[in-house]
Amino acid sequence: MDRTVVPRNQRSTCRFHRRAGMRLLAALICCGLTVAAQNSTHQTASKPFSIRTTHLMGFESAKSNCTGTLSIQDDSLQFQQSGKSGAQIKIGSVQDVFLGDESKQVGGLPMTLGKAAAPFGGGRVVSLFAHKKYDLLTLEYVDSDGGIHGAIFQLDKGQGDVVKHELRARGVVSSREDQSKHSAAEVKYENK
């Protein structure tokens, strides 16, 4: 029999080296994955982000109840009404972000007038179906004097979560739980 005889202690050394190699490989893979994840987070955080929204109230000098673009670039949060100069704040000044939702009638004043003018209560029937759910994004931030401001934005359903996620990726904390009971009560009303 031509079997090579390997001494016992040499075999165990070999096994020890193999195990060490495996551990090193696993550690390297872990490090690689962590670095990759950090890079992707950093890329997400620094990537400019913008979304169409309606400013309801409170954001710096922006007009209330106007539609524009809410954008996040570098360390600033900006709201720009189409064709006008934008208002902006530092993301670092944002202390809290909160997401809620609200059901609203669509069409604004013209639709309301039309519904009121419709004969035989036709407007009421239209109202029954002419409503839409929106996300309400509420921000709390401080100005240069330390005064607390609150700003409310209205976004299409589902988009509020995207903005909140973007803000959180840039270090904004959310200390409050998102709205649930209020909207639930409203849904209950509407389902009756």
Binding site: M57, G146, G147, H149, I152, Q179, E186
Partner: protein, 189 residues
């Protein structure tokens, strides 16, 4: 001398017109001059809304706070209106702090209002307190705000803030910002 039969009638109508036009103007003038002096020398700091034990949406709390700052600025009743946390407020001599606590809240529905007209109103009742730096209550009122027919639910916060500003304007408290003058605090209504 010949007098027309219409003369007494004309005289009566003129007298009524004079009374109808001049008296309200005089009243309004007196009222406005009174309200201007009621808060002369005072500045106010608006604190964030305390929801109390109620589950009031945060957007509602923020909307009440923002609308209050807006409405108080509009009335021009106070020398300066500060927000909570504003460090400039500590340097102002006559500062009152406006605290708002929500006492009652009825969540409404815009759709329900539009369909039924009579139900689905959003109602808010708050207790507003004006306090000095030392914590003495200068004024305490319970104020309501609601939206019954047209407008979104947040419209109730605007109406509430307007009512609070109006209540403060119509109320009177010591003219001078000296702490000794504040002992005659008004009772709760």
């Amino acid at each position: 001398m010949k007098t027309s039969k219409w003369s007494p009638l004309i005289a009566w109508v003129s007298a009524i017109l004079v009374i109808a036009v001049v008296l309200p103007l005089h009243g309004a003038k007196a009222k406005s001059s009174g309200s201007e002096t009621s808060a002369a020398g005072w500045s106010v700091q608006v604190d964030q809304v305390n929801p109390g034990t109620l589950d009031l949406s945060y957007s509602f709390q923020v909307a009440i706070y923002e609308n209050l700052v807006d409405e108080l600025n509009k009335t021009k009743q106070f020398q300066q209106v500060f927000r909570e946390g504003d460090h400039r407020a500590s340097e102002v001599p006559g500062l009152l702090v406006l605290k708002t606590t929500v006492e009652k809240y009825t969540a409404g529905s815009e759709t329900r209002r539009a369909v039924t007209t009579v139900s689905g109103a959003t109602k808010l009742t708050v207790r507003s307190q004006l306090l000095t730096r030392e914590g003495k209550v200068v004024l305490e009122r319970t104020v309501n705000g609601d939206v019954r027919f047209f407008g979104s639910n947040l419209r109730a916060t605007h109406n509430l803030a307007r009512n609070i500003a109006k209540t403060l304007k119509e109320s009177s408290w010591p003219d001078s910002p000296e702490p000794t003058a504040l002992l005659s605090a008004q009772p709760r209504v």
